[in-house]
Symmetry: C2
Subunit: 219 residues, 2 copies
Amino acid sequence: MREERARRKRDPKRTREAILEAAREVLARDGKEGLSVAQVAQRAGVNRGTAYQHFQTREQLIEATAAWVSDKLYRAVFGDPAHAHDRPVKGHDIEAVNEHLAAFAMENPALGRIWLFEVLSSSRPSDDPFWRQYASSFARFAKTPSAQPGMDLEVLSVLFLAGHFIWPVWARAHARSAKERQQMVKRFTREVLRLTLHGTLRPEKFRDLDARVGRRRDK
Amino acid sequence: MREERARRKRDPKRTREAILEAAREVLARDGKEGLSVAQVAQRAGVNRGTAYQHFQTREQLIEATAAWVSDKLYRAVFGDPAHAHDRPVKGHDIEAVNEHLAAFAMENPALGRIWLFEVLSSSRPSDDPFWRQYASSFARFAKTPSAQPGMDLEVLSVLFLAGHFIWPVWARAHARSAKERQQMVKRFTREVLRLTLHGTLRPEKFRDLDARVGRRRDK
DNA sequence: TTACTAGTCAACACTGATGTTGATTATCCG
DNA sequence: CGGATAATCAACATCAGTGTTGACTAGTAA
């Protein structure tokens, strides 16, 4: 019942970070509705009252955590939001985006789950910065002559994003070694590449990528 | 505070069903960790004690609900589990499976979410009957000469299943008219078909499906 | 040093959840 | 009919969670 013995050394920034970190863990494990401030505070080694000092309410704590994750995700895949201009749009870049995404998702399965669930349950998912950037990269690529005609970009975005974030959950990323995780990422990106080459890309325009897949086409 | 006025007419089967139905609603809205027996009972118009008579514990109630959903899903896509033999495996059947799945997911976005989350959080996802059947259909098809070589079936299964269940959530299926939902299903299945034709299927073997997509291939 | 600011914490009041128990009574069956 | 069965419910004990308040004290600046 007693919360903690020794009084925490004073460092509000670090305290805030500790709370957010604990919130991420709890949120990933128990989901939005399963998060309690009490549990987060205990896990962070902080008095519950202190948590309420930093985040006025349970709801705000969740919100702040989700924002943190979205930002982290954005940076991992697209880099600094400040340099959001002059992004190239060739086929290789969509490929690079997916690879970064797959790697991040596998290394942070919990965060990916948080982001996905949070975006899905938000009233306007397309307000999320990461989603916007992902979709717009896709859209710019679609206008390219390298792209297959007739694609439904919204469907494809949802399909690929869902896949990227759910694959690590399925693959039990958290219970595996770094090497295994790396292998899982490889499997996923290879399959996505194979799929896109013959589904959303014109193979004849990406012979180099085609070769990387190592699939024989017996025609 | 007082739970109900008139005593419920005695009909244990119906009562059990009412509880399960309410549990599905709550589970879909608040997720596994957000479900409380109290809320379920109230929504079902049943005394909390009665709910505990039918399901010994909160955990068992959730389990029973998930099993119900899995069964419903299985039947919607594959039909009666009793006739699980002699299933054909041609390309058209994978296509039919995906169409049934897309329609079910769109008509029951809540149930789809329940299933997906439950399977993902279970310790052995591949124990789920629906998953097994889906994966095995896929696997049998993959051995067919109609299938593309070199596919990673596990990745593809996760990718497509995740997409099917998350698309309706994204598309806000619950807030749309029947007509709109139907249109959303069409969009999704068309795009999946287009994708598979040029990613997991050999187009030259499916000229009829190719025509249905209505995509011109300017070779 | 001293006074102030603010980060940290214990305790409080309250709400709602869990699982249990015993009373009530509809329904069934001999 | 009349007793047994079991479905339903109210009430109880217990515990966890929320948000608030005031006391304590580390750090800071005059």
